[in-house]
Each structure stands twice: as C-alpha cells, then as structure tokens.
C-alpha cells in the first residue's frame, strides 16, 4: 500500500518565480492538507482540500493556492516566490468521517528560493 507521495523531493527556484508541488494521498484517503515547515520550526497549516474544494485555510497569503483532482491528488502552487518561502512543504492525507483517523504525511518537498 503506497503511502503519501510527494514530488519533487527538492526544488530550487528564483525569487519572483512560480512553483507547483504535487501530492498523491494514501490509498483510501480523500482529504489532503498542506503544511509549511520552516527550518527549526513546527509545521504550519496552509490549507486543506476535500471534494476538490478548499475546505479550510491557514494564515497564508493568496500567493498560495491549490487544487484537488477527482483522483484526490493535489497540487500546491506558490506565485511570486519570496526568500521566506524556502521551507519543507509537507502534504498530509486523511479520511473524512473517521473520527479516529490520523493524518499521514508524505516525505515532503524541500523548496529553496534564491
């Protein structure tokens, strides 16, 4: 059973560019959440997608947007990259309706903005 998979694993971008990160949830899961983890910090919630719609959103600017596809996979897009966007981006999947479910995290995408 494949767990949560993310691509790419590493990425280097220049300030002002745009980036797209991808996530495939664990088999059987229908909800995808994205987190940003700066170096030495805990992950911070960006947003969550369920049924192809943004369900919840954290305190991130509109430069951060996302999408969920019918197969439950998801993309995170960041426009007009800033140096401060350099971080590990984690995708987590879960299943709506299961109160005891836990979020399973992917291996992350390390984004470096130069």
């Amino acid at each position: 059973d494949a767990g949560v998979t993310q691509s790419p694993t590493h990425l280097i971008k220049t300030r002002g560019q745009q980036v797209t990160l991808r996530c495939s949830p664990k088999s059987g899961h229908d909800t995808v959440s994205w987190y940003q983890q700066a170096l030495g910090q805990g992950p911070q919630f960006i947003f969550q997608y369920y049924e192809e719609e943004e369900r919840q959103r954290g305190n991130f600017p509109d430069r951060f947007s996302g999408h969920q596809f019918p197969n439950y996979s998801s993309e995170l897009n960041v426009n007009a990259l800033l140096l401060g966007d350099s971080a590990l981006y984690l995708c987590a999947s879960s299943l709506v309706g299961q109160t005891s479910t836990e979020a399973f995290f992917g291996q992350g995408t390390r984004l470096t903005v130069v």
Binding site: R55, G58, A103
Partner: protein
Amino acid sequence: ELKVEQNPLFLSMQEGKNYTIYCNYSTTSDRLYWYRQDPGKSLESLFVLLSNGAVKQEGRLMASLDTKARLSTLHITAAVHDLSATYFCAVDRSRQGGSEKLVFGKGTKLTVNP
C-alpha cells in the same frame, strides 16, 4: 487562537535515563497527536490520543492526555540513542469528523548520548 507549547525545546540525555516532554495547549481539543521527525525527513506518527485520560505506550515511549489541564506528556523510559530525533505534539482544531487542521508545537529536539 489556538497555541501549542512544548517544553523543553532541547533535551540532551544519557542512555538509560528517563525523561518527560510536556505539551500544553490553549483551547479545548479532544485530539492530540505526537510525531517524530528525523533530520531532513518527514513526520512519523507515534500516538493519537482521543480522550481525556488516554494513555498509549509503544516501546520506550508513553503518551498521556489530560484534556482538563490541556496537557499531554511524552515519557521516555531508559532512553537509547535511536530515540534521538525531534518530537512534535499537534492539536486538532477541526470540528468536523475525520479531518485534521493540526496546530503544532515548536518541537523538542532530543539527543540521547551514550
């Protein structure tokens, strides 16, 4: 705004010793998670605590939850070098069953010395 505080943030201990990591949170929540993260890696789920008084144990780690005190503890028994990692607690803010909008603490970096 929900806040999650862990202490200590850094912990250096000798093999064979016991210690406890504390996780306090500011608003009512009945779901708390503990994760482990190795350097450069993703988050590995350790425990999911769903109710007041919940206690779970796995190997040398034991986690407990006191929802009235808004406190969770992660107790390490007879530490071994392999336990060296960063440990995060996270609280679920979601009010809808099954989905998680996790708020993380800053993490406790544990180093176990021979």
